[in-house]
Symmetry: C2
């Protein structure tokens, strides 16, 4: 079933995946579809009846640390996964909780020590009768979806150098695309395409380095509408610094089968101390549009040149069509809620920047984005580079974990709106000089985090108008909303909270219609499917991730966990660790 699609000539989309992602009875891809909508056209659960939703069955994964990602459903089988040691369970929906098979890779536990932000995993991919899992130790493995037996496996990186993996691979045509983590270890990151059939490497595109490594065509690859020219990355670094330049590719990948382009963002440049790496540090903090067949970059846009705050640009790229921006209707848009607190709307055909607006009014590090140059206008008071080494720059908003982190938003084509789990957190940031040793942390900053002055909520769940660049409504939450959202045709949006509540709110005003306290804080993504004609909602609980790193890794100092421990200390008054799948439905 692998091959060129009849619908999209010239594209190499995977027919089976194209079919499955259009079938609302399944949940075949981590973010629902190639466009990362996290939307379902199912409408049995509505704003009128969602209040009656209840858990119908549950399954503990036997793993304690943070559970990101969400279940996949293909036919009568649900696939769930865990953080390190990266177990995968195939569960029988005809006999809920019955384990058809389980897989637990053998991994050297020393990898735990080089994972920056908990031992999370955002879930495997399904394609062609295989479950593709990117393990913590960067082993990419294809399992037979029927038996759980290994079909092939390869190593994408080396944990001894700080290379790890947390991301969810994306299958495009006959290729598996996978990124790599290690921005806090001076890893020069890449996205790599492997053959779906055999795991053979097809292309690799680094985030930083020579044009041949980053797969740029100086003439054809564009930035803000212009060719990037030769050595566009190299010339923004001093000397060899690009070799430990970071630009992690640990986030989400989207795909447009018509354009045959994949979209993803890169993370922070190596060391959080900006004084040690003069220049724009391209192409860290960048949105990439690449040809799926070759990996060649079509266009790029760097959101945070010369990062001074750890605002990784890896959040999901939502591909939405026919967005009205002023008097222009944008046929093919890309919407991206960046860590830096700006929400970007671009033309995904050519990378034109259409909208860049703050989606949390607390954002203060930049006044605005200059729409001519695409550059944020940095406010000196909150520039850690201006402050300089060993100076504590205070009250920067957002904190390093951004106005939003990895937790994916949802897009409803029915309302045309985006439903975004956000953080509402600020920080003090003190850069210091650090030297690089392979496999050792290469951070170079001490942070502390806290809610914005005058706020006592550390998160909001918001509805965003990506054409206008405006918040439609905003629902405060005690802690950051670290769970992925789900929008449905029933006019309800679902998300989880760090205390452990699964919530459903009304698309139109964010009014809370349902809430249930699952066993542990939710940093997983809510998914939906049907079984025997009935709609179910499923989510993994299990607090952790960067926000929950204090509990997950047993850390206690306020500036531990790269500054997150102090801010989320109160979390342990509400929840404890523990991975559990909960499946919800309406009463019969």
């Amino acid at each position: 079933t692998v091959g060129a699609s009849a619908v999209f000539p010239g594209a190499s989309a995977n027919d089976e995946l194209l079919r499955l992602q259009k079938d609302p009875n399944q949940w075949a891809m981590a973010n629902g579809n190639y466009a990362s909508w996290r939307y379902s056209s199912l409408n049995q659960i509505t704003r009128e009846n969602v209040g009656q939703l209840r858990p119908t069955w549950q399954f503990s994964t036997g793993v304690l640390r943070g559970h990101e990602g969400g279940p996949l459903v293909i036919g009568d089988v649900m696939f769930i996964h865990t953080p390190f040691p990266n177990r995968v369970f195939a569960l029988d929906l005809n006999n809920p909780g019955r384990v058809i098979w389980r897989y637990e890779p053998t991994q050297d536990p020393s990898v735990i020590g080089v994972m920056c932000c908990d031992t999370v995993n955002r879930g495997p991919a399904y394609a062609d009768g295989k479950i593709i899992l990117s393990q913590a130790d960067t082993t990419l493995v294809a399992l037979d979806a029927k038996t759980g037996k290994e079909v092939w496996k390869i190593k994408n990186g080396d944990p001894a150098k700080g290379e790890t993996s947390t991301m969810s691979p994306l299958v495009v045509g006959d290729k598996v695309l996978v990124g790599i983590s290690g921005g806090e270890f001076g890893v020069r990151a890449h996205v790599t395409a492997y053959g779906l059939k055999d795991g053979k490497q097809i292309w690799r595109a680094y985030s930083v380095g020579p044009d041949s490594d980053i797969l740029f065509d100086p003439q054809k690859t564009t930035d803000m509408g212009k060719p990037v020219g030769a050595n566009s990355s190299l010339k923004t670094w001093e000397g060899d610094q690009w070799k430990i330049g970071g630009g992690g590719t640990w986030g989400w990948i989207s795909y447009d089968p018509e354009l045959n382009l994949v979209y993803y963002g890169s993370g922070n440049p190596g060391t959080w101390n900006p004084a040690q790496r003069p220049g724009d540090n391209k192409w860290s903090m960048t949105i990439f549009a690449r040809d799926a067949n070759t990996g060649m970059a079509r266009w790029v846009y760097q959101m945070t040149p010369h990062d001074e705050w750890d605002y990784d640009g890896v959040n999901e790229m939502i591909l939405a069509d026919n967005i009205q921006v002023g008097d222009k209707r944008v046929a093919k848009a890309l919407v991206h809620m960046d860590r830096n607190g700006f929400a970007y709307t671009l033309n995904r055909e050519n990378g034109d920047l259409l909208v860049a607006q703050k989606y949390d009014p607390a954002v203060n590090w930049a006044s605005h984005v200059d729409m001519e140059t695409g550059r944020p206008q940095v406010v000196r008071e909150f520039s850690t580079a201006a402050g300089g080494e060993d100076t504590n720059t205070q009250n920067i908003c957002p904190a390093a974990l951004g106005s939003k982190d990895q937790q994916p938003a949802a897009y409803s084509p029915k309302t045309g709106m985006f439903y975004v789990p956000t953080n509402h957190v600020c920080m003090d940031y003190e850069p210091f000089r650090v030297s690089y040793t392979a496999g050792q942390p290469y951070v170079g900053a001490t942070l502390s985090m806290f809610p914005p002055k005058g706020s006592d909520n550390m998160g909001n769940f918001i509805a965003w108008d990506a054409g206008k660049g405006k918040i439609l409504w905003s629902k405060p939450e005690r802690f950051s909303v670290w769970s992925g959202a789900l929008a449905t045709a029933g006019d309800v949006v679902f998300y989880g909270t760090l205390e452990g509540y699964l919530k459903a709110v009304d698309v139109k005003d964010g009014k809370e219609l349902f809430s249930y306290r699952t066993p542990s804080g939710i940093i997983g993504n809510v998914n939906t499917f049907t079984h025997k004609g009935k709609q179910y909602i499923a989510v993994l609980s299990g607090v952790g991730g960067w926000a929950g790193i204090g509990m997950a890794a047993g850390l206690g100092g306020d500036s531990d966990g790269l500054g997150a421990v102090g801010a989320y200390k109160a979390l342990s008054d509400y929840t404890q660790l523990g991975g559990v799948l909960t499946v919800f439905a309406l009463p019969n």
Copy 2:
């Protein structure tokens, strides 16, 4: 509020506990009341509406291994606990899941290696504004129930000698009674009374040894109606063997405030190889009735003299009144479903043996109990002593873990019947010579376990008529029922299964009226209470205990885990580890 009760003159019962255990809105003692009924007079949840029961909130404990015991509820606060490291959480019922305080003792993890049957704990006791917890390492600690701060703590034993603790202490008057584990390590066990106020030792009664250690009065302490005489224990052991004689006191303790007697059973004699310890090995495998003030034994009854099968006699003693045995009405009875497969009904005033009948038809090691002598009539074919050392005696029923293990039964005074979670498992048993080293396993037998020939269920949930000595009804379960039962005035009985189902059945015929799949296998005990006038059912999930030791301790060989691993291997096809509290209620 500690002092002599006005209702029961001469008794030293704790007034507050007597009051609390009569209030069905609370669940103040591990087994519901001093009589270990596990019964509630609440009747909002009935056979008619129990099908609508649903989870209302949950709380993950952050601990993976087996969760035995159950929640306590005092006023608006619920107290839950975990296996090692023995965390205790006080949860606010007015704000479900909100942690009022949490306690986590610092314990040397080496204790894990000397716990025979998982790192379980059967829960703390409440009394006098204190939560009394017996930690794995035998530290007995009293916490302020309001703040979780330590009031006092003492050491009851020494893990370096294999002394550990899993049991739930019982508060009687101004004393805390606590036993000790270590039957598989040659520990000479005891029950000890400590002052509730300050933790000072008041009395200690060993299971085996000189009369002064076992607190026997040769003239006044009786066995089958006759004085035991001098050295009743010593003369049933060869030489000094009693010093490593076992007789673990790791089970439940009951109390009759009118008689001021406490009741409990002792476990297996040291080494499972009977050839190494000729004699009756008194008072292992014995029911004790002791004066609560002094510890002096009033009467004893040894169920399994010279144990050859590890049939620890520690299961709960249920104190029921007005049981009709033949044409006799027994005002004060004690009903005990022993590991050895016989259910005993005794007169608890004097120890008279009234009924001893098999409660699983599979039981084959003894044909019957001689009612004159009280001795089981052993079937030679299934005698591991007759088989001898290094001989594998086969198809003995029950297996070492008994027709029932620690999982407590429930008694309904409304129906007069006992609702018993049972095991339906047999074994092969090969004794071998072993030598004693302090702190090292002193087992001396290799076991394998399996369902009885012709059965494919490994457990039954039964209703037992203790007067007639007959099974009223029996409901098969795939695995042994390792969870404690709860009977209610709503005419439904609750229990959990190793797959993780909480079930409710009709008292009259065992018909299943409700079942919900909680996150993990249930070995905890089901409790009930009200909050703001509404009835709730609460249970801890978290597979483990001896039956779940394979998963809990990560063991794989069939005869690992003292023979349990092979028998329960299929469990991991149904559930995984993880401690979660689930609170159920009817819809509003």
